[in-house]
C-alpha cells in the first residue's frame, strides 16, 4: 500500500506542472497587449477602511516577470519529480513550491503596496520552508533561519518605507504614486523612504552587505536553488527597484547608492566565485554578481541603462536556472558537487553537457549567444550613464570577465578533462530532468538569433512600463565596430586570462579570505548570538519558572502602572457611600469574607483552592442579584472547573510544607502588594461608579440585537455576532493555550 501511495503522489505532483503551464500560457496571451503599451488593473476590496485593497496591475514589467516565473516554474516542477524520487516528503515539497510560485506572481502583479508586502513576506516564508526542506540536517535549518531573518528584517524595513510613502502620497496604490513622483522626491521624508526601500530590496536580492545568506541558502535542493535563488525570489528586490524607479528613482542619492552597492556586489561576488570549489556555491556567488550588475544598471536613468538591466535579467534567469539544474543533475548522478572530484562527464551525459555548454557560453557572453547581446547592451548602458560611466563600465567588464572564466571552469572541469574514478557507473539522467536545462540553455541560443523579437515583445514592454520614454528598444547582434564591441573583446580576453590562471586565483582568494577579520556572516552570527544571550538574561530575571515570581511581577506592574495613571489624573478620592444592603447581601459578604480569611490562613492547599471557589461562587451570586445571569452562569461554571482542575493538579504534587510560606519578610511583602492591588481596584471601581455611564453602545445593542441579529440574549449576540472578531481571537487563544498546556504536561510526563 505504501508503494502504491508513493506512486500515486508522484503522478499527482507530475500532473501539478499543469498549474505553471497554464499560468505561462495565460501570461503569453497577454504579451501582445503589453507590447501595445496597455495595462490592466483589478481591485478587490480587502480592508477598505484603511485603503488596503488586493489590487493587481498587469503591465509589461509584471508580465515579463510572470513569464520568467511560470516558465521556469514549469521546468523545475517536472525536474523535481525525478530529483526527489522516493523522498518521503515529496507532497509537501510541491505544495511549498507551488505556493511560492503563486506568492511570487502576486508579488510582481500587486499594485497595492500592502498587498505587495504580504506577497513579499509569503515568498520569504516559503523560501524558508524550502531551504529547510531537509529539516533533519542542522545546516539546512541554520541556513533557512538565516535567510528568513535577513530577508524578513528587510521586509519589515520595506513595510515601514511603504507606510511612510502613504503618509507622503496619501495612497497605497503604486499606480497612483507614480504621478506624485516630484512631490515625493521633494518631501523631507524622501531620504528615509529611499533608505528603507533599499534595505528591503538589498536583503531580498542579496546585495552587499546582506549577500551572505544566498550562498548559505544552497543547502536547499537543487531545483529550489534554480527556481528561488537564481531566477525568481532573489529578483524580487530587482523588481522592486524597477517598479519604484519612476516614483523614487533618478535622483543623485538613488543613482549613487545603487551604482556603488551594485558595483561592489558585482565585483565582490565574482571574485568570491573564483574561490569556490562546490558547483552550487560557485553558481550562488555568480548569482550575487548578476544581481549586483542589475542593481547597478537600475541606478541609471537612461533608456540603454535600464534596458541593460532588464535584458541581463532575462539572460541570467535562463542560463543560471539551467546551470543550477545541471549542478543538481551532476550531484544526483555522481553524488558530489566538488569540482576536483568531477571530470569527463561529457561522455556519460551528452544532453546535460549540451545544456551546460549552452548556458555557460551564454554566461560567458560568446557572440551569437543571448548573453553576448546582454553584454553589448550592458556596455552601451554603462557608457550612456550620466554619473561616472567609467565606474559602471569598469565594474561590468571586470565582473563579466570573471564570469567568463567561471563559465569556462564550469564547462571544462566537470565535462571535459580526465574522467575521475566514480564509485558507481555514471549514467545520463531521465528525460524529465534534462529537458528543462536543455530548453533553458537552448533558449539562450534562440534568443541570440532573434534578438529583435525578444526586444520588441519582452524587454521593450518591461522597460517602458517603468521608464516612460518614446525611445524604441532594439536588441541586435551586431552594432558595428564601436566602444561596446571593444569592451566585449576586452572582456573575453581578460576572461580567458582569468581562466588560465584560475587555479592560482583560487589559492590567492582563499588565502586572502582567511585574513579578513570581519565578514558579514560573522556579524550576523554575533547579532543572533547576542539576541539569544539577551533572551537568556531576561528569562533568568523574569521567567525563572517560579509561579510566585510571575504573579508578583504581574501584580506589581499592574499596581504601579495603573496606580500611577490613576493618581496622576484623579482630582479627588471618589466618594464612598455606606452601602445599603439587604440581609441576603450581608450574608454573601460574610461568606465571602470568611472564605478570604480561610485562603489566607490555611496551610492546606486543597482547602485554599476550595475556599477560592467559594469566593468565586459568591461573586457569581452577586452578579445574579444585580441582573447579570449570563455572567453569573459563566462565573459559576468557570469556578467549578477551576477547582476541579487545580485539585487534580494538587493531588499529583508532593505535599507543600512550603518554605516560601514560612519566609516572614516575603510574606509581608506579598501581603502589602496584595492589599495595594485590592485597594487600587476598589478605588477604581468607586471612581467608575461616580462617573456618568455612556449608554450609546448599550443602546445600540439593545435596539439591534433582536432586529438585526435575531437574538434576545444581548450578551450572546455580542459574543457571536456583533463582536465575533474578538471572540474569534479569544477562542484562538483558548485553543493555543490548550495545545500548549497539553504539550507541557506531556513533556513533563516523558521526563
Amino acid at each position: 500500500m505504501g508503494v502504491s501511495l508513493k506512486h500515486r503522489t508522484e503522478w499527482i505532483v507530475r500532473a501539478s506542472c499543469i498549474l505553471p503551464l497554464v499560468l505561462f500560457l495565460g501570461a503569453c496571451a497577454m504579451v501582445p497587449a503589453m507590447a501595445a503599451g496597455e495595462s490592466y488593473r483589478l481591485s478587490i476590496s480587502w480592508i477598505p477602511a484603511l485603503g488596503v485593497n488586493l489590487s493587481f496591475m498587469l503591465d509589461g514589467l509584471s508580465i515579463f516577470f510572470a513569464l520568467i516565473i511560470s516558465a521556469i516554474g514549469f521546468f523545475v516542477t517536472i525536474y523535481a519529480v525525478d530529483y526527489l524520487h522516493g523522498h518521503r516528503d515529496t507532497g509537501r515539497f510541491f505544495i511549498f513550491l507551488h505556493a511560492f510560485m503563486i506568492s511570487m506572481l502576486g508579488l510582481v502583479t500587486a499594485d497595492n503596496v500592502i498587498a505587495l508586502f504580504v506577497f513579499w513576506e509569503l515568498t520569504t516564508i516559503f523560501s524558508y520552508l524550502l531551504i529547510g526542506f531537509e529539516h533533519e540536517e542542522e545546516a539546512s535549518r541554520k541556513s533557512a533561519r538565516q535567510a528568513l531573518l535577513v530577508t524578513g528584517a528587510g521586509g519589515l524595513a520595506l513595510l515601514v518605507g511603504f507606510l511612510l510613502l502613504e503618509t507622503i502620497s496619501g495612497t497605497y496604490e503604486i499606480s497612483r504614486m507614480v504621478p506624485q513622483a516630484s512631490l515625493i522626491g521633494a518631501h523631507p521624508l524622501y531620504g528615509a523612504v529611499l533608505a528603507l526601500i533599499f534595505v528591503g530590496a538589498f536583503t531580498k536580492s542579496a546585495q552587499f552587505p546582506f549577500h551572505f545568506w544566498l550562498p548559505n541558502a544552497m543547502a536547499a535542493p537543487a531545483p529550489i536553488s534554480a527556481f528561488l535563488h537564481s531566477a525568481t525570489m532573489v529578483k524580487g528586490g530587482i523588481y522592486l527597484l524597477a517598479r519604484f524607479h519612476p516614483i523614487l528613482g533618478g535622483g543623485g542619492a538613488w543613482t549613487c547608492t545603487l551604482m556603488i552597492i551594485g558595483a561592489v556586489t558585482a565585483v565582490g561576488g565574482s571574485i568570491l566565485a573564483m574561490g569556490q570549489s562546490d558547483l552550487k556555491k560557485i553558481l550562488a556567488y555568480t548569482t550575487i554578481t548578476a544581481l549586483g550588475i542589475m542593481t547597478m544598471f537600475l541606478g541609471g536613468k537612461t533608456t540603454p541603462s535600464l534596458t541593460a538591466a532588464m535584458t541581463f535579467l532575462l539572460v541570467h534567469s535562463l542560463y543560471k536556472s539551467a546551470l543550477f539544474l545541471v549542478a543538481g543533475i551532476i550531484d544526483h548522478q555522481t553524488g558530489t558537487r566538488q569540482l576536483e572530484k568531477l571530470g569527463g562527464l561529457l561522455k556519460f551525459m551528452p544532453a546535460t553537457a549540451f545544456a551546460a555548454v549552452a548556458a555557460c557560453l551564454s554566461m560567458a557572453g560568446f557572440p551569437l549567444f543571448f548573453g553576448f547581446i546582454g553584454k553589448e547592451i550592458m556596455y552601451k548602458g554603462a557608457l550612456a550613464e550620466a554619473m561616472c560611466p567609467e565606474l559602471a563600465a569598469g565594474a561590468a567588464v571586470l565582473s563579466n570577465a570573471l564570469m567568463t572564466a567561471v563559465g569556462g571552469i564550469l564547462v571544462v572541469r566537470p565535462f571535459l578533462g580526465r574522467p575521475v574514478g566514480y564509485q558507481a557507473p555514471v549514467r545520463e539522467t531521465t528525460f524529465f530532468m534534462w529537458c528543462g536545462p536543455v530548453v533553458l540553455g537552448g533558449l539562450g541560443i534562440i534568443f541570440g538569433i532573434v534578438p529583435d523579437l525578444v526586444g520588441h515583445w519582452l524587454v521593450g514592454p518591461a522597460v517602458h512600463a517603468f521608464h516612460f520614454s518614446v525611445e524604441d528598444i532594439k536588441l541586435s547582434l551586431f552594432h558595428g565596430i564601436n566602444e561596446p564591441l571593444l569592451l566585449s573583446i576586452m572582456t573575453l580576453t581578460l576572461g580567458v586570462g582569468f581562466y588560465l590562471a584560475h587555479r592560482r586565483l583560487f589559492q590567492w582568494i582563499n588565502a586572502a579570505a582567511e585574513k579578513i577579520p570581519v565578514t558579514a556572516d560573522r556579524v550576523y552570527d554575533g547579532c543572533v548570538g547576542s539576541v539569544a544571550r539577551l533572551g537568556r538574561l531576561q528569562a533568568r530575571i523574569i521567567q525563572n519558572g517560579s509561579l510566585h515570581r510571575y504573579f508578583f511581577i504581574v501584580a506589581a506592574t499592574f499596581l504601579f502602572a495603573v496606580g500611577y495613571g490613576f493618581l496622576s489624573r484623579a482630582q479627588a478620592f471618589p466618594e464612598v457611600m455606606p452601602p445599603l444592603l439587604a440581609w441576603r447581601e450581608w450574608l454573601l459578604v460574610i461568606v465571602i469574607s470568611a472564605a478570604v480569611i480561610t485562603v489566607l490562613v490555611t496551610r492546606i492547599l486543597l482547602l485554599a483552592i476550595c475556599a477560592l471557589g467559594v469566593i468565586g461562587a459568591g461573586l457569581a451570586i452577586i452578579f445574579l442579584t444585580f441582573g447579570a445571569p449570563d455572567l453569573a452562569l459563566t462565573q459559576l461554571l468557570v469556578e467549578t472547573l477551576t477547582v476541579v482542575i487545580v485539585s487534580m493538579i494538587l493531588l499529583r504534587l508532593p505535599g507543600l510544607g512550603s518554605q516560601a510560606r514560612n519566609h516572614r519578610g516575603r510574606r509581608l511583602f506579598d501581603a502589602l502588594l496584595a492589599a495595594g492591588t485590592g485597594i487600587l481596584v476598589t478605588t477604581l471601581l468607586l471612581a467608575l461608579l461616580s462617573t456618568e455611564m455612556d449608554r450609546s453602545i448599550t443602546a445600540f445593542f439593545e435596539q439591534n440585537s433582536y432586529l438585526a441579529a435575531h437574538g434576545k440574549n444581548i450578551v450572546n449576540v455580542i459574543l457571536v455576532d456583533f463582536r465575533s472578531m474578538d471572540t474569534l481571537g479569544e477562542i484562538i487563544v483558548v485553543a493555543t493555550a490548550g495545545l500548549a498546556g497539553y504539550a507541557l504536561i506531556k513533556k513533563r510526563g516523558s521526563g
Binding site: 449570563d630 472547573l641 476541579v644 499529583r652 435575531h710 459574543l719 457571536v720 495545545l739
Partner: protein
Amino acid sequence: MQSLILRTATRLLVSLILVFSIYLLFRGHNSPGGGFSGALVAGTGFALYIIAEGAASVRRAIRIDPRHLIVFGLGLALVSGLVAVFTGKPFLTGLWGTVAELPDYKLVLGTPFLFDVGVYAIVLGTILTIILALEES
C-alpha cells in the same frame, strides 16, 4: 476512586449534565447560555466522569481525540465567518435564513450559531485535552 455511590450517581448525572450542556448551547441566543457556558458544563460533566471512572473509560466513551475537537471548532468558526466573504460581505458578518415559518412562530438559523458551535467545540476540546492529559500523566 472506587466509590460505589459516586459511580452510580455519575452514571445518571453525566448524561443529564451533557443534555443540559447541549440545551444551554441551543438556548444561548435568546436566554442565558451559549457555546462557552455549554462547553463548561460539558467539561464539568466529563471531569466528574474521569473522577469516577478514570481517564481511560472517558477516552473510550468520547471515541475522538479531544485535540481534533479543538481543530474542528477552529475550522467551524472560520468557515462560519468565510461564508459571508463568499457572498461579498465582510468576514464574520452574520447571515440568516428562515428555516420554517409557522403561524405564530418563525425559526431562523444563521452563521452565528455555527460560530457558537465552534466556540463550544474549542472550549470543550481544550478542557478535555488538559484534564485527560493531567489525569494520564
